[in-house]
Amino acid sequence: MDATDTRAANARPLLEVTGLTMRFGNLAANDNVTFNVHRGEIVALIGPNGAGKTTCFNCVSGFLRPTAGRVVFDGIDITGMRPYHICRLGLTRTFQIVKTLGDMTVEENVMTGAFLRAPGKREAREVAAEVLELTGLLDKRAKPGRSLTIAERKRLEIARALATRPKLLMLDEAMAGLNPTEIKGAMDLCLRLREAGLTLVVVEHIMEAIMPISDRVIVLSSGEKIAEGTPEEVAANEDVIKAYLGEKYHAAS
């Protein structure tokens, strides 16, 4: 890659989602959704239940092939690519319903991810140790995955994703089901990751957790993007209040 390429890549958003539409039969889970994610940002994707957040995640990360629209990551059109190709390019995700590899130890879980870029076992183990330290799981590394609590499993999801050395990490409700202390820990982790130069797209329900750490918030409702902006802008947006609280409350307020 020469210098001009590098400059072009820097100017461009890391992730460009254009006109993303995903239909299941007659239901449009995502309808013409367009947004960009810039390098080093934490972007939150919020919206009421059934708004299409996870579908959007699946389309971007390759687990679903969108009906229409384009997804460009780091200058490469990844629309319809398989998840493992996309991961190799540097975009990976965690799952809302954690997929802990229960038969493998915590360390083995993470090493599996590390093997993507680490040539050998020793290197993979070193990467795993660093990522486990970062996610606070180092003392649990010899335990089988199935023995972890839900909070630890969520962290293990993140650790496993980090081990693949992504540029863009997409977290699907990484904080759901956690207690306030654990949520605080997860918030700190997100900020630390951004500080390290990672770009994050976060789906989250817990507003108190997501608003303080997000640079930008995108709101989906019934499959459409209804608002985008800083946390303050979005919180004051009438459409957003309507979508969350319903027409009745909006009228009353």
Partner: protein, 377 residues
């Protein structure tokens, strides 16, 4: 491909290339400690190799100590089926893809060795190599389309393909159809892979192949491939999110498994010196492989060995003692054992031993616990 905070390609040459993080992450290590590559948890990773040495030493001495033809026969069959179980364990135990058709690869190997000498006068060793290549190719052709699907398609496909190949051999005149092949007697020796005066050479050839197979299993299990296979078994979605193409690695596992299975088919043919489709393509062979591995412990290196150590003497001695009337008794007993295992310890005998070991450890009587205690003191 640039700009990744995790990529270190552009770092100065002096920097350790394995470093995952840069300064920002390093500062955040708890208590201000640098995130050094921690000491890996020392698993007793070499233990299975030591056990293998012990087991093979015992197996090497046994036929000399017990100089009985029947016993030698049982030992050879034990080694063959333990190895078949190891091979099957790669695709089913590690990768979680149940194959009910491994007899197909076993039969291909058996026929390749037999046909090589019977039809063309070529050394059975060359036949063995050709058979392994053919079996590997067949396994790839069969598996590739179904590995792209999820669910039980693979199990059904293996069952169907084994049946198709069986029917093919029954009516194929080149391999003498249903009549089977009686391998022409040749001079004894390693070159012809025929021994008539003693079963001992077969014992040792099979033992060598068994040791090789266990080592291959261990190699696969401990390698990146093994991690990938276990991840695929755990969750294909999780594997894909880590950059793993499940279809590709399942295919590798299947090909390795078919290759080994075929080699033991060849060994079997050279040992019995007569084969027909009903012997080597029998569903009973596929099932024995499945049952003994499940009884012993799916996914564990010693599972098939333990399972074969129980099933094979049972089936061979009932056959030797009862002849035709005893046919099937072994499978009845074995079926009952499987039901018991499935109900009480799905991890098989190995799982049983492990949970026993854990209980001992919890009571603080295991060697490990004591060692740890002294280390702390």
């Amino acid at each position: 491909m640039n700009e990744s905070p995790w990529k270190d390609r552009k770092e100065p040459a002096g920097e350790p290339t394995r470093r995952l993080t840069h300064g920002a992450l390093e500062r955040t290590g708890s208590d201000g400690q640098a995130l050094r590559p921690a000491q890996p948890v020392r698993r007793r990773a070499r233990a299975p190799e030591l056990w293998l040495l012990a087991v093979s030493a015992v197996v090497a001495v046994l036929p000399l100590a017990v100089n009985n033809v029947n016993f030698h026969h049982v030992l050879i069959m034990f080694l063959i089926f333990a190895s078949l179980g190891e091979a099957w364990n790669i695709i089913t135990g590690l990768a979680g893809q149940t194959s009910f058709g491994h007899a197909a690869f076993f039969g291909i190997g058996a026929y390749a060795a037999a046909v090589a000498y019977f039809r063309h006068g070529i050394s059975p060793w060359i036949g063995m190599a050709a058979g392994a290549v053919i079996a590997t190719a067949v396994s790839a052709v069969v598996s590739y389309p179904v590995f792209r699907l999820k669910g039980h398609y693979f199990a059904i496909a293996t069952l169907a393909v084994a049946e198709i190949i069986f029917q093919l051999f029954v009516s194929w005149s080149y391999v003498e159809g249903a009549t089977g092949i009686s391998i022409p007697v040749a001079a004894e020796g390693l070159a012809t892979f025929q021994f008539h005066t003693s079963k001992l050479p077969y014992c040792y050839i099979t033992l060598a192949a068994f040791v090789g197979t266990v080592l291959v299993f261990r190699r696969v299990e401990e390698s990146r491939l093994g991690y990938y296979l276990r991840a695929i078994k755990g969750s294909e979605e999780a594997a894909m999110a880590m950059g793993i193409n499940p279809a590709r690695y399942k295919l590798y596992a299947m090909m390795i498994s078919a290759f080994i299975t075929s080699i033991f088919g060849s060994i079997y043919a050279q040992y019995i010196l007569y084969i027909d489709p009903f012997m080597v393509f029998a569903l009973a062979i596929s099932m024995k492989i499945v049952l003994l591995t499940v009884l012993g412990g799916l996914g564990s290196v010693w599972g098939p060995v333990l399972g074969a150590a129980i099933l094979i003497p049972l089936s061979e001695y009932t056959r030797i003692l009862l002849g035709g009337t005893g046919k099937g008794i072994d499978l009845i007993v074995f079926g009952a054992l499987i039901v018991v295992v499935a109900c009480f310890q799905p991890q098989g005998i190995v799982g049983l031993m492990r949970s026993h070991g854990r209980r001992r450890a919890e009571r603080g009587v295991s060697g490990d616990a004591r060692r740890d205690a002294t280390a702390v003191a």
